[in-house]
């Protein structure tokens, strides 16, 4: 049990470091996981060079979705948008350091889905964005 809820996840869930809102922001996007009501909003500030300068998430949901969003924001600060587009499902799993079943995977990947939809400038966040097909 404690394996699963690694200290990192509980810690980031209870004490997130990148929770917040950026106003103004260069890129904003939000979506939810309809299966559980998880909701994630993401704001990015991006330099002219395409490098992410600041990143914040807001939302509510389970420990996995919120911790994963917090860790993801940390990860992308300093990245080029083109690199952000390359972040894969596996990167998120490595970041969390746990194994996940298909349902919790959706929780873990929600922030990445929202992030990618925002970065690509899409109208809607779809699962395709985070599947390694």
């Amino acid at each position: 049990m404690d394996d699963f809820y690694r200290e990192l996840i509980i810690d980031r869930y209870k004490n997130p470091q990148f929770r917040g809102v950026l106003d103004p922001a260069d890129i904003s996007f939000e979506d939810d996981n309809p299966l559980c009501g998880d909701h994630i909003h993401i704001d990015l500030r991006v330099g002219e060079d395409g490098i992410v300068r600041e990143a914040r998430f807001d939302g509510k949901g389970c420990a996995i979705s919120q911790a994963s969003a917090d860790l993801l924001m940390e990860k992308i600060i300093g990245m080029h948008l083109d690199e952000v587009k390359q972040i894969s499902k596996q990167d998120i799993l490595d970041m969390l350091g746990i194994e996940l079943g298909p349902v919790r995977l959706k929780c873990a990947l929600l922030s990445l889905k929202v992030l990618k939809a925002g970065v690509y400038g899409l109208g809607e966040a779809t699962d395709d964005l985070v599947e390694d097909e």
Partner: protein, 416 residues
Amino acid sequence: MANHILTTTLDVKKIREDFPVLGRQVRPGVPLIYLDSTATSQKPTSVIETMDRFYRNSNANIHRGIHVLAEEATAAYEEAREKVRRFLNAPSSRQVIFTRNTTEAINLVAYSWGLSQLKSGDIVLLTEMEHHSNLVPWYLLAERLGLRLEYVSVSDEGLLDVADFERKLELKPKLFAFTHMSNVVGTINPAKEMIAKAHQVGAITLLDGAQSVPHFRVDVRDLDVDFLAFSGHKMCGPTGIGVLYGKKDLLEQMPPFLGGGDMIKRVTLGSFKPNELPYKFEAGTPAIAEAIGLGAAIDYLSRIGMDAIAQHEHALVSYALDRLAEIPNLRIFGPSADKKGGVVSFVMDGVHAHDIAQVLDQSGVAIRAGHHCAMPLHEKFQIPATARASFYLYNTFDEIDHLVNAIYRVKDLFGV
């Protein structure tokens, strides 16, 4: 722990031996505690073996075949229909239509009865506690026809508001479609009285029996209900099979829904004549083995006795409500045990329902977390998700103790 009277007339130890999966360890040393029967029930050996035997001995397509296998398969399939008829106390097995599940059964009514009988401005009355299966078909129909949908409101306690129901009936709905038992808060609605009242204003009634037919005696003649829908997989039967019961005159008036083999009497290029009931509504090769499996499930449940099952579940849920009430920071939804079936939904301050379920799973306790396909009810309660434990004939008081202990572990882990 309070002083509880833990009585049941079921020999649960023996019943558990009928369900192979209950002997499973989900991880080495961690036995399964299955508290998710509202989503789907487990299956007894007799059901599994009945289907197995069918495939090994008598498998054939039905109705049109003359050889021995086809005759055996047809007889077994129609015998299953007769078992359903008897289980529901329906007048005729022609009124028993096999579908995939509750959802398809309700859609069948929406497409066939609804599209042909309803028109713009007509009112369909639903309730705020419906499963999506008894909402979305009517949304789709409302969009197509311009219907007006109304909802009987649900109290904070999780009961249908009787005064609101009577007010809504004054609008003269053409259809009142409602759940017999909520899959979230467990409320058992007084279906017989509500159906009678709906009939008084001329409404046709549809009862979502997904959670009632598996758990207590449902008598369609006593209820005088017009349509009843339920699923095999929630009542010890296989997946892929459900039932629509309907009153004969209604079913006879209704146009076909799906077109294809078996639902026709005659086909020429450009025209066809529909078959008689129930075949009119069973297009194509049906779920033959699954219908036969459902028949075996009904045999099994009948042998144990639906009243004994209901009593057992009532004892379990009473105990569960008492034990869960001891836990600080737990909010339990739904009415008191006397008004509900074996379902308990709850939330915990500071821990999302998904996390509760995940941590419980580490202890082998299988519950469900989410909106349980009843988003509007969750919206009403202003929560995105609940954790839900649900009980069936094979669950024990012991398992509820395990549930409670596991919930304490969640609290420890999250420090709440």
